[in-house]
């Protein structure tokens, strides 16, 4: 490991850490020391699965991560902004409170679980049980935008927040492959571009058409997605949800040959549906009344 710049030094640009096989505890301790010293931008090179990056930082620091960050990237995170040039693993943004995570690749299971605030943008696909039990509170309303598709149980138990699933690489006319999307959701909303197979949905979720109130948010997310990732096709490593493991750093490569690059307007010009709760009180009638 080497630290190329600290706050207050004359070196312009972000501080840089070459991570290698450094233990996560030491990495996060050094990150915290740098942030406490006032460093505002830090670049992490050669990240090899170190966990909990961003968890202990409570400042609007900007982290740029090259390589593959480990599980629970930004878990309990409150404030930082993290951009990953590579794939992310499980638990990204777990119980996150505020901040932003952008992944130029795929992400694993449990992304955004119980997240209460902040934003997550993923260029490619995400794994199982993502956006489970997302919440919202007063003016905190978390956002998750996924360019590809999601494996099973996407948005299960959702209690708040907004999720956009763009399905950019799905073959024309194909439904999203994940089962039990939105099962038991009792708050929040899931916007899905492309076809949703209703037979694959779980209990408690309703499907409706987009309304005028939905479009401004979706439009804003799509424009931000295209701004962040430069192109409208998924183009990300890993063809199907749940399978990851393409070499880190490959993300950001051009769209696979043969795939048309879509503009934001072209993406928005395709059919979207909305998944929402059937009821805010799903279990109101489950119990025997006392006489």
């Amino acid at each position: 490991m080497s630290v190329s710049a600290f706050a207050g030094s004359a070196v312009p640009g972000p501080a840089r850490i070459t991570v290698g096989t450094l233990h996560y505890r030491e990495l996060n301790r050094r990150l915290k020391a740098m942030v406490d010293a006032g460093v505002e931008q830090i670049e992490l090179r050669g990240v090899f699965g170190q966990r909990y990056i961003g968890t202990n930082l409570r400042a609007p620091v900007r982290l740029t991560v090259y390589g593959t960050p480990g599980n629970d990237l930004g878990a309990f995170m409150d404030g930082p902004s993290i951009e990953v040039f590579g794939n992310a693993q499980d638990g990204l943004g777990n119980t996150m409170n505020s901040g932003r995570i952008v992944v130029h690749g795929d992400a694993g299971d449990l992304l955004g679980m119980s997240m209460r605030g902040g934003e997550i943008y993923v260029r490619g696909n995400v794994g199982y049980r993502c956006a489970i039990h997302m919440k919202e509170y007063e003016d905190m309303r978390p956002t998750v935008v996924v360019g590809g598709t999601a494996a099973d149980f996407f948005g299960e138990y959702m209690a708040g927040g907004r999720v956009v699933l763009l399905g950019l690489h799905l073959p024309p006319g194909a439904a999203h492959p994940g089962s039990f999307m939105g099962t038991g959701m009792h708050g929040g909303v899931i916007y899905v571009r492309g076809r949703v197979d209703r037979a694959r949905l779980g209990t408690g979720v309703a499907v409706r058409e987009m309304t005028d109130e939905d479009w401004p948010f979706v439009r804003q997310c799509v424009h931000e997605y295209v701004r962040l990732f430069g192109c409208g096709t998924a183009g990300a490593p890993g063809a199907d949800a749940g399978r990851r493991g393409t070499a880190a750093g490959e993300a950001g490569s051009p769209a696979p040959s043969g795939k048309k690059i879509l503009s934001a307007e072209e993406i928005l010009n395709s059919p979207f549906v909305v998944l929402c709760p059937q009821a805010l009180r799903p279990f109101a009638a489950l119990y025997a009344a006392r006489t």
């Binding site: 915290k32 878990a75 409150d78 489970i132 009180r281 009344a289």
Partner: protein, 499 residues
Amino acid sequence: MKSFVLNDFIVERDDRRCIRCQVCVRQCSFEVHRYDAELDQVLADEEKCVGCQRCATFCPTHALTIRSSPREFRANANWRPELLMDIKRQAESGGVLLTGMGNDKPFRVYFDHLLLNASQVTNPSLDPLREPMEVRTYLGAKPARLRYENGRITGDMPPQIQLETPIMFSAMSYGAITYNAQLALMQAAQELGTLCNTGEGGWHPDFRKFRDHVTVQVASGRFGIDQDYLNQAAMVEIKIGQGAKPGIGGHLPGEKVTPLVARTRMIPAGTDAISPAPQHDIYSIEDLSALIYALKEATGYEKPVAVKIAAVHNAAAIASGIVRAGADVVVIDGVRGGTGAAPKAIRDHVGIPAELALAAVDRRLRQEGIRNRASLVVAGGIRCSADVFKALALGADAVYIGTAALVAMGCTLCQQCYTGKCAWGITSARPDLAKRLNPDIATRRVVNLVRAWTREIKEMLGGMGINAVESLRENRLQLRAVGLEDWEMDVLGVKGAGM
């Protein structure tokens, strides 16, 4: 539909004593009593009575007696009246039966089959009124060996919680119990030098001032958890399971999610607060380890991280995994543990007694040589100082009490917590009922109880000729069993009385 459910209770009113003051009418939150002005009589709708004894306690002339209804069907040892009534209730509603408080079924209470030793002739007993008796204990991982330099301990010591008595208050969320009830527990914990657990329902801003005496919970609902929540507390507890309802989640119904509860849980008011059955980021011991270390990272390795499980069949092996996953404290909650709301079928039939699980876990951790790596806390059915004492002798570092603390405040175990109608202001959802509990008087009662128990523990220690709870821990030689089978004594690690 005509209801076939018979009354649970009979209301007897001695008309010669009744002065028509109508205290009972005002006190009953289940609307049993009503005054008929024309008859100048107080009448009772007995089918609504839950037997909480609020009216009988407050009747100034002791005119009221609330008795169990005999419900005398043809005698049948198999089909007990409770079962018949449950069937009829479900036949009429099609719903899951809910209940509150702990398992009330006559499973063997092992504490009642263990007797304590005392010094006679061969070693002197100690008098706690005249000699110092140490009841302080520390929760947290202990290093495998201590190194000294110039009489001081050197090297890294994992974070420790100092408890002035080995009795803590178990997890009861604001929302499940009232603001005043939780306030009373926190004030009592502060005064006693012990810990109070927030439960998973968040940590109210007004209660942050008790931070050095508060354990916060991280459970499947992840309510109200942010960096302040984790970092301001003394200890963080991951709740995997609860003795009253192992393996299942829960939901606080929307009508109980008042604006204040919503603020504490950080969710919108009026929505159901759902706690999924599992924590979806924990499907294995490895996942548990990931969350333990996520919490340690979030808190700078400055707080012990506890993991609470319900006592289930393989508790010993699971606890071993929990310790190896990095937990600093393991909490075992037995089958008699209380709850604000649980399906009756689950509460009464899932899990194993705390005493057996505790003894098995302690022995397993010792056999594996990892007992020092975590403290052991037992919960679920601690009813008196002798239960605390026996739990320590079976290997616990400390105990959690929940029900006993609520009983000290006024609870009578009527098991209606889930209705929100608690007449005692302990679990009430209605504001007019919730304010019945005076937090300062409740604090006094709880502090008195724990002080009394602590004094009794010192008496029992002294009788054995022991002067510190640290010397009692896992001291099974001080226990003898009566009326237990061989296998039970094997699990507990105790000999029969007379041996």
